[in-house]
Symmetry: C2
Subunit: 199 residues, 2 copies
Amino acid sequence: MGIAERRLRQKEEIRAIILDTAWEMVKKEGWQSLSIRKIAEAIEYSVPVIYDHFENKEAILLEFTKQGFQLLFKKLEKAQEKYDDPAAKLTAIADTYWDFAFKNKEYYQLMFGLGMACCEFEATPETMAIRKLTQDIINELIGKNKVNSTNSCLKYHTFWSVLHGLISIKMMRKWDVTDEVNKLVVKDAISGFIKNLQN
Amino acid sequence: MGIAERRLRQKEEIRAIILDTAWEMVKKEGWQSLSIRKIAEAIEYSVPVIYDHFENKEAILLEFTKQGFQLLFKKLEKAQEKYDDPAAKLTAIADTYWDFAFKNKEYYQLMFGLGMACCEFEATPETMAIRKLTQDIINELIGKNKVNSTNSCLKYHTFWSVLHGLISIKMMRKWDVTDEVNKLVVKDAISGFIKNLQN
DNA sequence: TATATTTGCTAACAGTGTTAGGTAAATTCA
DNA sequence: TGAATTTACCTAACACTGTTAGCAAATATA
C-alpha cells in the first residue's frame, strides 16, 4: 500500500522545507537570529511541527554542519584531482579550502563554532600592544635588508594564524590527541615558521 | 565634600562585584549560561541595578575581553624578556600564547569568539573523508622513508591549523587588509609549510 | 524641615527553546 | 459503510532570556 510511502514522502518534504527555509534565513540574517518560531512562521506551520522532524534546534544546526563538510569534501576532492604533483595537490586543497570558507561563511562559521556573542574584535590598545611586541621580533628575524611593511605584516599574520589555528581546533574538539603531541605540533609549526623567515 | 567620592567608590565597588561574580559563574558554567538575571540574583540586587553599571550584556563581555588581552600582553612581554636571541623570543611568545589559551580557556574563547551553539565537533564520516584525502597527500610529500604515524598526524594538524587560523582571524574582524594581501598570506604560509615538509 | 536627588525595586515587554494536552482529520479494521 | 484507531496539527503553557518604564523609599541639599 502506497499510503505509508506517500506519508513518508510528505514528511521528508516538510523536513526539506524546514531546512531550506532555515538556510534562507541564515543567509539573510546570520545564525544568531535563527529561531524555531521564525522558521515555523515562515513555513506556515505551528512550532511543534518542527519538533516532529528534529529533536531540537541543535539537531537542525548539526544537519547543516554535515552538509557543510560534505560540500567541502566534494570541492577539495575535485580540486586536487586536477594535479599530479603532490605539492600542487596540496596547494590546490589549501586554495579551495580558503575559497570555500569565504564563499560559504555561514557554513564555515557553523562548522567550526565561530562567532560567539560579543566579538567582532577591533584594534584596541590592548591588541595593538601585542601586535607591536610580536612584529618587532619578527622584523628582526626577517633581517634588516629584507624587511618591508608588506612582508612584515604578512609574516605577523602567518605567525599568529598558525598559533590561533592550532589552539582553536584543539579547543573545540573532544576526540583529540594528547597534550604532548599538541605541544609537539606547535613546536614543529613555529620552528618551521622561523626557519622560513630566515632563508 | 567626601560624600560624592564615597558614592563613586561604592558604585565602583558594585561594578567590581558584578564582574567578579560573573567571572566565577563563567568559570563554573561557561559563557553560554551566563545571564544578567543570574548575576543579579548572585549579587543580591535586582536586575536593573546591573544596567546602572553596564549598558548591556555585551558591555560586560567586552570588559572581560579587554582584561583578557591585557593579561595576555603582560604574559607575552614577560616571557620574551628572558631571551636575547629573536628566535628564542618568538618561540617563548608562541609557548606562552599557547599556555595562556589553555590555562584561560574562558578568556580565550571570549577574545576570539570561539564556541558557537552547536559544535563541539567530533570525527564524523564527513570530516574523516577530508582528513584522509589530505593526509595521503601530505604523506607523499614527506617521503616514504620519513613517514610515520606521529609525523604524519602532526603535519596534517599543522597544515589544517595554519589554514583555519588564517581564515578564522580574517573572518572575525573588521579592520582588515585587502583580499589580495590575504591570499598572499595563505600562499606564503602554505608554500613555507610544503618546503618544510620536504627538507 | 521641605525639596531634590539618587537608589533600587516591581512588573512588564518582547523574545527564546521546548512540551503537555486536546481536537479534528485521515486511515484502518470489523 | 460505521466504529475504532492512528496521525497530524494546533493552542497554550512553562521556564527561561535581555531590556526598560515607572514608582517608592532612602539619602542629600537648600
